[in-house]
């Protein structure tokens, strides 16, 4: 047990986070972008759990934050998907390049 350091986990979660970021920036499909976001949120959840377990095991703050964050991200996803579906209904397409009508 002693060998497992907090840092190892943190590295994994950070990579997950920025993979999500990368995906957000590069993906062409709105749903794919949303999937990338899940990575981001998920990595944060891991962070909270990790910090709680490794550093501050006395209370369950991180634990509960993760719990609530999962719920919130579910909400976000639901609403986002609703909006995307709505776009799909409007223009029969959910490519992000079609979301460039509003610009300077």
């Amino acid at each position: 047990m002693e060998e497992l350091h907090l840092e190892y986990y943190l590295v994994a979660s950070a990579i997950m986070f920025f993979a999500g970021v990368y995906g957000f920036i590069t993906r062409r499909n709105l749903l794919a972008i949303l999937i990338s976001i899940e990575l981001i949120l998920n990595s944060v959840d891991i962070n909270f759990a990790l910090f709680n377990r490794f550093l501050f095991p006395g209370q369950l703050e991180g634990f509960f934050f993760t719990l609530f964050a999962i719920g919130v991200s579910a909400c976000e996803t639901a609403v986002a998907i609703a909006i995307i579906i709505n776009i799909y209904r409007n223009i029969r397409n959910i490519q992000v390049k079609n979301l460039e009508q509003l610009k300077d």
Binding site: V21, F24, I25, T26, R27, I33, V96, K97, L99, E100, Q101, L102, K103, D104
Partner: protein, 633 residues
């Protein structure tokens, strides 16, 4: 002697009255009101003169009286502009001269200006001028003098440009004002310097000979001259401008575009001698603090005098001749002041200068009024339209002749006495200068008689109808002034006006007198030879001295220089670039900021691409950048 206030105030009231309600009056009524008011003023000034010269003498010296003095404007504790009345011999003399000539001109104008448009306005302006001039001479302090100095300038401007529909008149009035304004700048700066060091404007204190006043200026010099010299030279510049001294005289010949009576009053008798009066007023200061400036005054006077006399010889417009003659004569007065000392015999120049001022006022006013009568008769200023007028205009002829003789310096006419004393003083000061002035006197006699002959003798030009003698309102002043010219020379002037206010008995310097009379006579002789009848000699002479003649006709190109300076240098050389700079560089910079913002605004529009991923990218980069900056720098 508080009633002297009314001498000054009455013309002002007349001005206000005529200016405000003049339009409702008939021209005749306006003329009479103006004349009558001035007549009262004149009487008062005569009374003042009598009163003053009989009572004001204390221990053989005329006292300076200030019947009235009140603070008009405070600057500092020490410096304040007062308005008041200072009576001393020269002030009283000037009061007499001004009111007399002005009265004559008022009277004369009733006839001369008859039927002119704006007759009421004319009288209003005349009153304004008289008021200003009177205010000037009774000034108790140099700033009061400056105030009225400006006012006479303005009224001169208004009167020269009286016929405003006439472009030449307008241009002349403008020129007169601007040139004298330029000179006044010197005057003002001079006042500033003087008052800064002495802490007073007051003539009485300045001329009291109290050296401690000038203690602050001691040892200070600027560009090799002491500061007090600078101050006084600058003040003299103001005087030189008003008195049309070379090279600031350019405005005066042009000022002849104004009505002739105005020329008589302002540009011959009164305003143009203000410069002389100024120097005379400050004479003790000049003499005690900056004798070098007095030399400058003398030299400028002499140069001007000679220059104007030469130019006068070739002018064809009779008023221009008289104008240059005026310039020349004022040069004499300046020379007189410049060569003068303080006391007794040394002070002859001063006394002579004032005397000449007095006599000159009479005969030059007479000459101008005579010229007015001639112009009135032939409707032209040009000599070639005249000739042989002596038959038609007898009174004018006689009076004009009297004036010519006076100015030529033939005894017993008044000009002889005054001019002769100036010459005497000049010879006493410097024989070479004396010789120059004698030559000038000779030239004077020559051009005056050239004028006289070409008007009244010579070949008559073609006329549609015979010229008629002027009406009584014009001949009365002529006669009066002629009489004055005749007797003025016998006034024992030294009893009244001297540099130290003490009596000084004039002794004619017979050698100088004889020489100058001789020169004058020779000059008259030559003029008779040339111009009494039509003669080819002048033309021949002119063509043989073509260069000189042409230069003299063009007034030695000084007017061209003036034009060059105003049009080319000030207008095109300074103002246009400045205006361009303002619009394009200064304003351009302000507009440039606006344009720049707009440009930037347009150039960054691509930044807002409408791509949500780019937005997020920017957020991310923003975070990273802030992190790098905040953590690693």
């Amino acid at each position: 002697m508080e009633y002297t206030l009314f001498i000054v105030l009455l013309p002002f009231l007349s001005f206000l009255f005529l200016g405000l309600v003049g339009k409702r009056l008939t021209p005749r009524a306006a003329g009479y009101i103006g004349t009558v008011v001035l007549a009262i003023s004149t009487c008062l000034s005569y009374i003042t003169a009598w009163h003053y010269f009989t009572t004001a003498k204390v221990d053989g010296v005329f006292e300076k009286l200030t019947p009235l003095n009140f603070t008009w404007l405070n600057f500092t504790e020490k410096l304040h502009i007062d308005l008041g009345i200072l009576l001393d011999p020269i002030a009283v003399m000037m009061l007499v001269v001004i009111t007399t000539v002005s009265l004559m001109v008022h009277l004369y104008s009733v006839g001369y200006m008859h039927g002119e448009r704006g007759f009421q306005r004319y009288y209003a302006f005349l009153s304004l001028f008289t008021f200003s001039m009177l205010g000037l001479v009774v000034a108790t302090n140099i700033f009061q003098m400056y105030i009225f100095w400006e006012l006479v300038g303005a009224s001169s401007y208004l009167l020269i440009g009286f016929d405003y529909a006439h472009p030449e008149a307008v241009a002349a009035s403008k020129k007169a004002f601007i040139v004298t304004r330029f000179a006044d700048l010197g005057f003002l700066v001079g006042i500033l310097i003087l008052s800064f060091y002495t802490g007073t404007f007051d003539f009485e204190r300045l001329t009291s000979g109290d050296a401690s006043l000038f203690a602050g200026m001691e040892g200070l010099s600027f560009m090799g001259c002491s500061v007090v010299s600078w101050a006084l030279a600058l003040i003299f510049m103001g005087g030189a401008g008003k008195s049309a001294m070379f090279p600031l005289h350019v405005w005066l010949p042009d000022a002849m575009e104004g009505p002739t009576p105005v020329s008589a009053l302002i540009h011959a008798a009164t305003m143009v001698v203000a410069g002389v009066y100024l120097v005379a007023r400050l004479f003790p200061v000049y003499y005690l603090q900056a004798p070098d400036v007095l030399v400058l005054v003398a030299i400028v006077g002499a140069v001007t005098s000679l220059y104007a006399a030469i130019v006068a010889c070739v002018q064809t417009d009779i008023k221009r001749v008289l104008a240059f003659s005026t310039i020349s004569q004022i040069g004499f007065m300046m020379v007189g002041l410049g060569v003068s000392g303080m006391e007794g015999r040394e002070g002859l120049g001063y006394m002579a200068s004032m005397f000449h001022l007095f006599t000159h006022a009479m005969f030059k006013a007479l000459l101008f009024l005579g010229a007015g009568a001639i112009i009135h008769a032939v409707h032209s200023n040009e000599m070639e339209h005249m000739g042989g007028l002596r038959k038609y205009l007898p009174i004018t002829h006689i009076t004009f002749l009297v004036a010519c003789l006076a100015i030529a310096g033939i005894p017993p006419f008044s000009g002889f006495f005054s001019k002769d004393e100036i010459l005497a003083a000049t010879f006493h000061f410097n024989p070479a200068l004396g010789a120059v002035m004698s030559l000038t006197a000779g030239l004077t006699a020559f051009y005056m008689f050239r004028l006289y002959y070409r008007i009244f003798w010579n070949k008559a030009s073609h006329r549609d109808h015979a010229p008629r003698e002027a009406p009584g309102s014009m001949t009365v002043p002529l006669t009066f002034l002629a009489a004055a010219t005749l007797v003025a020379g016998f006034i024992p002037f030294g009893k009244f006006v001297t540099s130290d206010s003490a009596e000084y008995i004039i002794h004619l310097d017979w050698t100088v007198a004889a020489a100058s009379v001789a020169v004058a006579l020779i000059a008259i002789g030559i003029a008779t030879l040339f111009y009494r009848r039509e003669s080819p000699i002048p033309d021949r002479l002119a063509s043989s001295l073509r260069g000189l003649h042409a230069a003299a006709s063009r007034r030695f190109y000084l007017d061209d220089l003036y034009l060059f300076v105003t049009k080319k240098i000030i207008f095109n050389g300074i103002s246009k670039p400045v205006a361009w700079f303002d619009r394009h560089v200064v304003d351009g910079a302000m507009n440039g900021f606006a344009t720049l913002s707009q440009r930037v605004s347009y150039s960054i529009r691509g930044f807002q691409s409408g791509q949500v991923q780019q937005y997020v990218m920017v957020i991310l980069l923003g975070v990273l950048l802030i992190a790098v900056l905040a953590l690693f720098i």
